[in-house]
Point group: C2
Chain length 484, copies 2
């Protein structure tokens, strides 16, 4: 059982939650949610919901009934390991999907390549913090663009290079899998994972499904959803409203809007396949009206996500929120400050699943190897913060204090077990004292040290063991240069 | 009335607080505290405390009696402004004292000069975040070393270049004021401020007095204390234990030890001058046993300070804790992450006074102009976080949501008052989207942008107005090149 500090209680009172809940009911009942899918609309009609064009109106009763079967937790399996996702468990810290670009150790910025995709899998695999493998159907410049199916190669790369449970960051679209029914494609992906793991009756791939703001669920996402939940695979609905642009100008309004859209989508999953896990996810944030950009690492972003975390807990749903993302353009001071603040939501807040715990910059557009290993330390700091102060008669150390006495010295003999139990000692971060010029000369800048850690981790990486059958499965999709 | 989120309640339960309180009573009664001052020992004896050599044993009754007169809040005055310090008020965010060295915009590291001291006063004076002037008796290389009194020149510089209420970071010692009784010197400093402000019956200078770990108060600090509290000036006792070195290896033990020493010192002030404000301060932290350095920005540091914050609130004392300090060697990712985490204690925790809100690096040894303006943003982020989510029928924006509807657009006309009320838009931090290479070329790196902000602030700075009498007072002590 994980020590849950429920930090969100300091930001949302039971009255606040009740008020947002009631406005959410009004939104669902009076404004409605657009579902861009005939099949979804039919499901809602079949269950007695009022449907007008593509707009679905959900009553309190229907919401209540559907939420009854929505699981509050679930377990996701890989070959020889699994993660448990839910309130009782440690938040599952997940790395980054591939970004459009990478800022490299020398400061140069280049488009992401297949090698980068593989390297990030290697970092995830060798990480003590990152607990899942992130597969992503992003089309790097060097993927074979003549392929109809540009999605499965990335799935195969993930399964080859990481043995951790699989998170699927992107849905299938007509761009990454041409000439294919999307529901069929999503089913195929689910079945491929089942086949690879030889696990047929449990969750094996957790997929992200992005909602549209305001108050809509798009056709491609719905097509993917049907395929995945028919195969009993868990999904995450993720909302990313931007204040004053795609959501109201206030934080409260934005929370209500996200809440309503998320609940509507989760209701649908339960009407289709009662009991299938569906996560309540939000990375909504403020718009910086000077630039019209999502200010992903802004304080308002933390607050909106904290508010939605409180709402997710109110409905007893598994929650994805909190991100190690910054609007910064490099692994600089802004990146450190924003990442620390944003990860506090998930790690002390606490949510159940934190995508982008490590690596992303420039509002998700850019990745950084250095930031990845630095973010791991930030996450570790917050995990230690969440552990808190250990309180017991033993930990009071009264007898030791008496023995040492005023003006005495505690530095004696071997470093005690108590010290080791209570202190997290990071790599890379400076902990030396003395002449800073000399220290920088000797150990390099933080970027240098992070760069060395990346290099060592990539060198120490070992390919997970797989059977011939598995290799054959993957070879069908792996880009030629990455085949077994 | 400031919105106090009492974040410390998520880290210390009432039972935890009670247990630490009880162990503290045992420490005060059975182990005792060393006071290196005949005068202090006589005061304690006079009030019935058991004294053995330099060790004073304080009973629960004596503690209880003394705490009765200790104020929970006070106001500190300057010429035409003041700060209120206490639980009901916003935490007073205070800048940095001068450091031994400065890391400059070009990355070069140089010893601090008088010009740097003045520049930091100028930054404080032009700051929207920093609310006090920090005077510090640090002997820069370029002070006239033949002076007996090398303390007052820094006091005079502070009063000349900043009009904000005065915080005095260092005590007088035989090194910075030669051939002078320290109590007499401290009185003179207090009287000098009274004279300068022409305020004779109110607090005008708040002084820091550092305790010794474990469990002792040094002779110089006590000599200063007597002078200051006789002049009815408030003091801050500040404890900086280091786990496993000068305090127990556990966080709980360190908290008990700091708590006991702080309470003992505060008891003394009330026995000497009942009702004089005495603050409960701690910047204690963990030792990194690999380097034997204070890990000032470590998670254990945040936890110890959060624990002591809870204890200070328990005794209803005004509290100093939380620091914008990092072990980092530059205004880099580590500096951002550690500063954000450490300032959370003070700004969301919350404490009443936060020294080193902006500027310090390398565990207090180094200052950075760039970090100063970046830390101001970090503090502003956390102030916004502390404001929280505004909840009301108006803020729900239901009618607007209905008007815009699903898939609608909120971007219409002028940016609303609600948006402006709820969004903090920082300078310097990147909020642009698009091509990162181009953005860095156009706007420079974060360090470049911070450097420009520093330059603009120093250029925009205007010398506070003073009377001829005040100028004459200061000219007596100002280094020649800084005289009116």
């Amino acid at each position: 059982m994980y020590l849950n500090r429920n930090l969100h209680e300091k930001f949302m009172s039971p009255n606040d939650i009740q008020m947002i809940h009631e406005y959410t009911l009004k939104v669902l009942d009076e404004i409605g949610i657009i579902f861009e899918s005939e099949r979804a609309l039919e499901v809602f009609k079949h269950h007695g919901a009022r449907v007008d064009g593509e707009t679905v109106y959900i009553s309190e009763q229907l919401l209540h009934e559907a939420l009854k079967t929505a699981p509050s937790e679930f377990e996701l399996f890989a070959l020889d390991n699994s993660v448990k996702i839910g309130k009782r468990y440690e938040p599952v810290t997940v790395g980054n999907p591939a970004h459009f670009q990478i800022i490299h150790t020398d400061g140069s910025i280049k488009n992401t390549t297949l090698d980068d995709v593989v390297n990030f899998h290697k970092l995830a695999e060798t990480s003590e913090v990152i607990r899942m493998s992130t597969s992503v159907g992003y089309d790097t410049d060097d993927i074979d663009k003549t392929l109809d199916n540009m999605y499965m190669p990335y799935v195969a790369l993930g399964l080859k290079y990481s043995s951790k449970p699989v998170y699927q960051a992107n849905a299938v679209t007509p761009l990454n899998w041409k000439n294919k029914d999307l529901t069929e494609a999503a089913r195929e992906i689910a079945v491929f994972h089942k086949k690879f793991f030889d696990i047929w009756d449990k969750p094996v791939v957790l997929s992200n499904l992005a909602l549209l703001s305001p108050l809509a669920v798009g056709s491609e996402v719905l097509a993917n959803m049907f395929g995945l939940i028919e195969e009993n695979q868990p999904v995450i609905f993720i909302d990313c409203g931007m204040t004053n642009l795609t959501s109201p100008p206030t934080l409260m309004g934005s929370i209500i809007q996200s809440n309503a859209t998320l609940l509507a989508a989760i209701v649908l999953t339960q009407l289709v396949n009662p009991g299938v896990p569906a996560m309540f996810g939000s990375v909504s944030g403020p718009t910086d009206m000077r630039t019209l950009q999502l200010a992903v690492g802004a304080p308002e972003s933390m607050l909106i996500q904290m508010g939605l975390l409180a709402m997710g807990r109110f409905y007893n749903l598994p929650i994805r929120t909190g991100v190690g993302v910054s609007s910064a353009l490099d692994a600089d001071y802004q990146a450190g400050a924003e990442t620390m603040m944003m990860l506090t939501t998930g790690l002390v807040g606490k949510s159940d699943f934190i995508l982008n715990t490590a690596g992303p910059l420039a509002t998700y557009n850019m990745g950084s190897y250095e930031k990845y290993v630095l973010d791991e330390i930030t996450a570790s700091y917050l995990k230690r913060v969440n552990q808190g102060i250990m309180i017991s008669d033993k930990k009071a150390c009264f007898d030791l204090m008496k023995k040492v006495g005023p003006r005495g010295d505690y530095l004696k003999g071997r470093t005690s077990r108590d010290y080791r139990e209570e202190h997290y000692l990071p790599k890379i971060f400076n902990r030396h004292g003395g002449n800073s010029t000399v220290l920088i000369e000797q150990n390099g800048t933080l970027r240098d040290r992070a760069g060395r850690e990346v290099k060592e981790r990539l060198e120490a990486y070992q390919l997970p063991e797989t059977t011939k059958t598995q290799q054959k499965l993957l070879n069908e999709y792996l880009p030629p240069q990455f085949r077994y």
